[in-house]
């Protein structure tokens, strides 16, 4: 009960901060775009978290689902004339189905074998979108992708897009929280913690691994589709291995297996990436530094530090208060 209350309080604080930022950015177009990227990355990393953080299945190829979402929705909206709001959902579902197909062999694999399979899948999708000229326009990419429009209103400005993305992100986080706190979420965590015991307690491990892949691919695909309709231009450059690594870095840095971890991780890394725009060549080096920082100093990510800090404060002042 207490835990629930505390979580509610934290989410209210987070919302307040967001509201303050919103008020602040009303003047700043660029800042609004950065906030949009934070939202999109949060959704993608949340997807990765369900797979890696909660079910213990590693994936170094999540850019693949991001690409499938982006290209899927772009092609559906431009070539088939489906309104973006619907094509985004359709592309996410396509990504989900592909995630399930990958999961059928992947659910049997663990550790480095699974890493290799996911890396290979990421590369396959990247090569596919790069060389299928007639469909994806190859390395030149696709331009003039339509903006999202809902009920006759088109989200053209960065600011309006941010409000839309913020709403979607919050919905995604609520859905994630509900999944994790349910029978399905407990099954995920049980699979991560002890596959043998999970199987012995009546959990169909393979089924839940595939389900985790599906949810994960859906969310990352959704993020990719939103990205395409936000920046209106996609090319294979955005879906390389670097993107997969970026998602993993965000997740590890923010903290795996938590609600706020992906939010913190993507916020910090998006901001750092934006600040370092002039050093694009060193991008991977910067991510590597973040990963090293996680390995040596923050095994549980930023969220781990916050938890330790909170526990310390509680130990010091909690007793006096009682």
């Amino acid at each position: 009960m207490l835990k629930k209350l505390r979580q509610k309080r934290i989410s209210i604080i987070v919302l307040l901060i967001v509201a303050i930022i919103c008020a602040f950015m009303l003047k700043e177009r660029y800042l609004a775009l950065v906030l949009c990227f934070i939202c999109i990355n949060t959704i993608a990393v949340t997807g990765l978290d369900i797979l890696f953080g909660y079910t213990g299945q590693v994936s170094f190829g999540h850019a693949a689902y991001y690409a499938i979402g982006a290209y899927g929705s772009t092609l559906l909206s431009m070539k088939a004339g489906i309104p973006p709001a619907i094509s985004i959902l359709m592309a996410s579902l396509i990504s989900m189905v592909l995630g399930m197909i990958i999961a059928i062999p992947a659910a049997k694999l663990v550790k480095h074998f699974l890493s290799l399979l996911t890396i290979a899948f990421g590369q396959m999708v990247y090569i596919f979108i790069s060389i299928t000229d007639p469909l994806t326009n190859g390395y030149s990419g696709i331009m003039a992708i339509p903006h999202i429009s809902l009920f006759g209103y088109t989200f053209t400005s960065n600011q309006s897009n941010f409000f839309l993305l913020l709403a979607i992100t919050i919905l995604v986080l609520i859905a994630k929280n509900r999944i994790i706190k349910s029978r399905v979420g407990r099954a995920f965590i049980a699979v991560r913690e002890n596959t043998q015991a999970a199987n012995g307690m009546g959990i169909n491990v393979r089924y839940y691994k595939i389900m985790a892949f599906a949810i994960s691919a859906f969310l990352t695909g959704l993020a990719g589709a939103l990205y395409a309709h936000l920046v209106c231009f996609i090319s294979p450059d955005s879906f390389t291995n670097t993107t997969s690594n970026l998602f993993m870095t965000m997740l590890l840095f923010g903290g795996i297996g938590s609600l706020a971890g992906p939010v913190i991780g993507s916020a910090i890394l998006v901001i750092v990436t934006e600040l370092m725009q002039s050093f694009v060549a060193y991008q991977m080096l910067i991510y590597a530094i973040f990963i090293l920082a996680v390995l040596f100093y923050l095994p549980n990510g930023v969220i781990g530090i916050l938890d330790t800090f909170r526990a310390k404060v509680k130990n010091k002042f909690g007793k006096k208060a009682e």
């Binding site: 349910s182 002890n194 307690m201 009546g202």
Partner: protein, 253 residues
């Protein structure tokens, strides 16, 4: 209720369980004992589907269950604990037990996302049920602890609680007293008796002979994968072959 018929399993050249036939009656506290490496845990693994028999049958209430995956066998009403503790360490005590309710609940993904009424009621019901089990196993005050923060004996009790949450008809305990002190063993004896009074059949593998003799009402002895004796605790204690198996044969001069 559970019958093993000519159960045999070979790992390479080793016959771990060799032509074992026995029957566990409903309501019994059935002891499965034998020296190290006799094939007791392998028997457990065969019953719970962790490994498949080379030949022979496992029959639960007239239905053949050998070769089914473990999660299906749990659904059919067989729950187990492990020799080396297999808890979900980063989950809390009550969450561990709630995982045990998995097969007895049905809410899926969409029900969870939209928090439909049935799902909320189901969650409430299993929390009540799990707290009852924790009270029964004397772990209620530690419901919010991380499983890894429990003492060894408590972790063993938590494993039993988790198994009980799946409402088993047959409970398999694999060396539940290992690593327990005298008092904890005494409590465990009482707990096993109470579980049996609930109408749950218990199959017990244990090395502690005092515990086995005081709690079981029928015992099967294995040695090198073969069944060498079967009967009441008293008859086993005086069985020549069993004594030979445990203490070695006398020297013929």
């Amino acid at each position: 209720m559970l019958k093993l018929e000519n159960l045999t399993v070979q790992f390479g050249g080793l016959t771990a369980v060799n032509d074992v036939t026995t029957e566990i009656e409903k309501g019994a506290i059935f002891g499965l004992i034998g020296p190290n490496g006799a094939g007791k845990t392998t028997c457990f693994n065969l019953i719970t589907g962790v490994c498949k028999p080379t030949s022979g049958k496992v029959i639960l209430n007239g239905k053949e269950i050998q070769g089914l995956p473990p999660y299906k066998i749990n659904e059919l009403g067989i729950a187990r604990t492990y020799q080396n503790i297999n808890l979900f360490k980063k989950m809390t005590v009550i969450e561990n037990v709630m995982v045990g309710c998995h097969t007895k609940t049905t809410s899926g993904l969409t029900a969870a996302i939209f928090k439909v009424r049935k799902q909320r009621e189901e969650e409430k019901a299993i929390i009540v049920k799990c707290m009852d089990i924790l009270k029964f196993m004397d772990l209620a005050e530690k419901a919010d602890y991380k499983a890894s923060n429990l003492s060894y004996g408590e972790q063993r009790r938590l494993e039993i609680s988790r198994a009980l949450a799946s409402d088993p008809a047959l409970l398999l305990l694999d060396e539940p007293a290992a690593g327990m002190n005298g008092r904890e063993k005494e409590e465990l004896t009482q707990t096993i008796k109470k579980i049996s009074q609930k109408g749950i059949t218990v199959l017990l593998v244990e090395h502690d002979m005092r515990l086995v003799m005081s709690v079981t009402n029928i015992i099967c002895v294995l040695n090198f994968g073969k069944k060498i004796a079967f009967g009441s605790p008293e008859s086993i204690q005086n069985n020549e072959e069993v004594i030979t198996a445990y203490l070695g044969g006398g020297l013929d001069v």
